[in-house]
Structure formats: C-alpha cells, structure tokens
Amino acid sequence: MSFMPEILWSDGLIFLLLAAAGTGAWYVRRHEHLLLPWRRLARSATAMVSLLVLSLFLAIGLLDSLHYRAALPQQNSGETVYSPEVLSAFDKLIEPLRTHTEKTYSAPLAITLYAKESTTDTQGNVVRDYPRLQYGGAHLAEASQRGVDVVQRAVIGAAAGLMVGLLIALGSKRCLTRRNLPFRALFIAILIIASLIGLIANLAAAYHVLGTDKVGQDVLYLSLKSIRTGLVIGTVTTLVTLPLALFLGIAAGYLRGWVDDVIQYIYTVLSSIPSVLLIAAAVLMMQVTIDTHPEWFETTASRADLRLVFLCLILGVTSWTGLCRLLRGETLKLREMEYIQAAQSFGVSTLRILTRHIVPNVMHIILIALVMDFSALVLAEAVLSYVGVGVDPSMISFGTMINAARLEMGREPMVWWALAAAFAFMLVLVLAANLFADAVRDAFDPRSNLSE
C-alpha cells in the first residue's frame, strides 16, 4: 500500500529538537571539560536507570511522530486519493491494538463486555447476558479457560522477554562497563523492563490488557499514544522558553540600565498573573481563532496538532520568567568577575563576551531548569485538559483520558481501568523524569560535592 508522509508541525519541532540535542552531544563529546559532569552523571545508578526508562518513552514518542496518510483503494482511475486519517509509524507497529475495537467498556483481560445486553439466541429467545468480546479472548471456546490461558500467556511472554533482555544486557556488557556505567543496576532494569514488555505484548495479542474505554478503544493503545502528547508538551515548550529566557536574562543582567528595567517590568507583569489564568486566557483566544478559521486545516489531526503546538507556545511564554530571573542573577554575578573585566579592557565586543564568556558559564543553570521543568509540564497537561484549556479533545493524551474516565466514576461497578492506566503511565514517566532531573542537578550544580 502506498502512502504519503505527513509532517505535522509538532513532528517538525520534535525532530528539530532532536537534531539540536544531537549537535549538542557532538559538541560536548569533543570537549573534555564539558564531558566531566556527564561522566559523573553516568556513574549514578538512578540516573542511568531513569534514563533507560525515559529513552523507552522517547522511542515510542519518536516512532509516533513519523506520520503518514495511507492511500485509499482506487475507486475511479486518476490521481491517488489519500485517507484523511493521519497515522504514525507507531500506529502501524501496534495496528491490532488500534483496529481491534469493541462495542464499549470491558474490564482488563475480560472476555465479555462490562454491561449486560439483550441478545436473541438460536431458538429465538431473548437472553440477557454479558456478550462476548469481538477480539478480547476470542480464541477461547469456554469462559472458564480464561484464567489458565492468561497465566500461560503471561508466563510465556515474560520468559521470552527475559531471554531477549538477557541477550541485550549481556551483549552490551563490555560496552557498558568500559564506560564506567553502573552495570548491575542497568542489568536488573533491562531484565525487568524486557520481561514486562514481553508479558504485556504476549497478552495484548489476545486480550485487552488494560480493558477498553467507552467507545471500545483499547486503553493500552490510548496510554501508549498519550506518551507522545506528554513528551511534546514537555520538550517543545523549551523551544520557546529557552531563547526568551536566555536572551532576555543575559541582556538584563549584562547590559543593566534601562534594558534591565524594561525586561524586569515585562517579567514582573507576566509572573504577577496566576499562570493557570494566563494560560486559560491565551488558550481561549487561540480557540476562537482556530474556530473562526476552519479553512486552515486539511485534517482533524492537523487542527489538533496546531492546537498542541500553540499550547506549547503559550506554556512557554508563561513559564520563561523563572529561568530568566535565575539567568539574570547569575549574569549579574559573572559580569563582575575578573576574566570578564579583562575581556572588556582588551576591547572584546559585547556580543563576543556574551557568547564566549557568559553563555557557557550559565549553561548548567539552563540544563538543570529545563530537565526540572519537563515533569511539571507533563503533569500540567493533565490539569489543563481537565480545566478545558488543554489539548484538543480529539487528541489522545493523559488529560483527555482522565477527563473521559472521570465521568464514569459514579458507575456501579466502577470503571477504574482507564483512570488507573493513565495515572500509572504518567507516574512512571514523571517519576523517571524527576529522578533524572535530581541526578542532573547533582552532577551539574557546581555547589554540589565535587570530591568523590
């Protein structure tokens, strides 16, 4: 089947960020003194294990960012028509999860729907019973076989995953130990993650591991798709915060005088508005603009995507003030240093002093702040979506999942799986990010203990 690649705005920005990170890594590799804190970071077991988890999420997010539109089967001769549905490489990879939709709610690993329905059996009698699912456990003839089958599949899957994990871990042992990475912690982490993936994958082939939601979509699929939205919000926002905070913070701290006054005024105004309100106000405006210009968007995905990018933009504009204040303070300190004064008296131009002497010396602050912000942004997305100023309702995200599941709290028995899945995935992502951020701070903060 032919297809047409579709680069959404957020995809472009994500790959731009990836390229920037790659360039940064290449630059750091060539400078021994810059490598030092990274080496320190690499020795920390928590940092490496959380980085492993994060990169797994990142891999899913990146695969999910390669979008395309499949060609529709030819109806009449002429040019190819592409489906209005935008899919991603990750969708293709887990296609059964996406396409195997049931009628409505079903519990995790269930083989019947959650609610009773009236059906007519072969004799023509109306029977009220839980109907069997179309896909979940469809290979089972009897409902009683389920327990054994689930355990069997789980064990086989976990064992297969464990074997693969063992191969990967042992295969990379030399590479890891040569670079002084904490091998034992990574070894255990790889084994656990691999067997978990094997277990879930094997079960997901025949069941809905985390159940299905109101329209019968697999909750595992929704959770996996939400990862990308969270990552985009957490990373693309930095594309806005970073330049704003860097330029304004350094300019205010170095140039002082009226420049400092103006910049301080701007950030006092921005930070004096409670951030949720400012975000709400900006998002409301964006909504009006998007709603009054439906002609801008070819597909719903592109509309939802543009809204996501705007949300990142708005989050960035409202959250650069903290970093800017830090950078201003640090620059004020740095500009009184002897080496800056020496540069000034040699007649080095202001721009050169800023780029050669100031920026490299505030880099650690930027890195720490950005990593710390990431988890806060992922959490903020859920809250904003609840308030109604988050991502587009058609976009799969942790916030929209929680929002939809929250309304089913009152049902008896409770539909808990979608909520639990969203919270669990979010917890793993945010916890890994928080632990990594702590390790980064310890490794890069010059105040932290260097004598080890």
Partner: protein, 325 residues
Amino acid sequence: MIAYLVRRILYAIPILIGVNLLTFTLFFVVNTPDDMARMQLGIKRVSQEAIQNWKQQHGYDKPLLLNRAASGAEKFTDTIFWRKSAGMFVLDFGFSDDGRSISREIVTRMGPSLAIALPTFMIGLLVYVTFALMMTLFRATALDLAGVALCVLLMSISGLFYIIGGQFLVSKLWHLVPISGYSGGADSFRFVVLPIIIGVIGSVGASSRWYRTIFLDEIGRDYVRTARAKGLSELRVLFRHVLKNAMIPILTGVVVVIPLLFLGSLLTESFFGIPGLGSYTIDAINAQDFSVVRAMVFLGSLLYIVGLILTDISYTMVDPRVRLS
C-alpha cells in the same frame, strides 16, 4: 517605611496597567469583538444585526483604543479599553455575560474559597515544616533517604489522582463525608475536611523537599557549629537556631501566596463543588465569559503584588537587620 510602601504601591500601578494591556490585547486585538459575538451567539450564520445587538448589550460597540469620533478626553475614555479597564482600578469589575455584578460575586464567593484555602495553607505549612525538620534531624541516614524517596514519589503523582482517589476512597467506599457540596455555617465542616486533607497531601512531596533543602543549607553554617559547641542538643539547635534563621527563605516563598488564597483552587473547588472563586473561574472559562476571566486575572495580579509587599514587610519582622527604605 511609609515612604517605601507608597513607592511600592506606585510601582504596582504600571504593572497592573501592563497586565490590563496584555489581557486586553489577548481578548480584543487577536480576535475582534465580532468574532467574540459570533462565538457567544453560537450559530454559524449570525446576522450583522444580532452581532451589533450583542456588542451593544455588552458594551463592545466602541472603538478599541482611540475614538476618533469623540472630542477632548472622550477620545480615550469612550473606548472599549477605557470602559473595561478603568473600573478595575477601583475594584469595579462590571458585569458578567449573564448580567450579574462580578464584584458582588467575588465578595460572596470569597468565603467558601477561604474556608478551604486558609486551613489547607496553615495545616500544610505545619506538616511540611515538621516533616522537613524530621528529615533534617535524621539527615544522611536511611530514614532521611526514605523520606526523600517518599517525597519524590509523592510529587510525581498527578494532583488529579489525589483528588479522584481521595473522593473514591473516603466518600464512596467508606462513606465518611459527602463527595461534594457546600453549606455555610458550622455544618460546612464535613464538606471542607476532605478537600483540606487532600490539599495538604497533594503538595507534601514538593514542599517538604523544598524546606529540607533550606534547612540543610542552614545546618552547615558557623552559628550551628557554635551552638553545638555550647553543648545544645540537636533538637534545640534545630528549633531554636536553624528554624529561626531559615525564616527568610521560607517567608520568600510563603508570604507571597497568602493573598492568593482568596482566589481558591481551581481544581479542588470544581471537583468538590465548592461555590468559591476557583469554580467561578472554571465556569467562566468553560462559558468563555471574558469579562470574568479578565477580572480574575486582574484580581490575581493585584493580590500577587500585595503578596510581594507583604513579603518585604515580613522580612523586617523576622530579621532586625532589614530596614525598608
């Protein structure tokens, strides 16, 4: 002191004007009043008359910033910007889209917001500082490590989870308190107790860790060593010396939020059905009532500035070296 306060209050005016200009630009320049009218009326094909009517009703039928048709000072005063902003500086917020006085709503809704926010703040402060002091007391032991790990875990959980989980466990499973609602008077206790507990638990992770860092910064100082050399017990050092000296960084972070307590919490109030300012704001956001959102933004920044001034004043109370001039 008086001169300082006057200067600070005067400095607040340009900031409030800036806030106003910003929200004004967001609301009226990015989208014209016509767009807003169309949104509010909600129909695809709205006649020009209906739009004019709506604009007139809500006072949007004037030029944005400069009225060329008017004469004299009216050139500036007979505009949307002036009409919608000038009143705010004397705390007259005008009317919401459903025709009610925003100022009156704010006054009546302040009570329920405070009934939740104030106890949450006070109990929270007590709990977090105690917890942080405990971790500092047992620093570099397994207990401290466990405490920090707990903090990181707690701060990685979404705030929505605390609310939804708490409601499910306490109200639905154990039937201890009603799920949501509010009533004035002494009866309100059973409505506010759960939101307060959840509010305190919700930020125990981040806050305790923050206080712990502050205390650990202080504990390396010379005066602590001197106090220990005098033979004071570790507990006494912590409570008498470290806690007092850590007041400045603590006040920096704490005092500024006190005035903002009036605004209540968006999430808590909407989940628990508390008729406070937080749920008022959420309703306004969902109904796209721009006058209310603008009023709340203005009120929020006003309270923030009051918080900054209070912070400075509080420094003079805990540190005799600080003089405001």
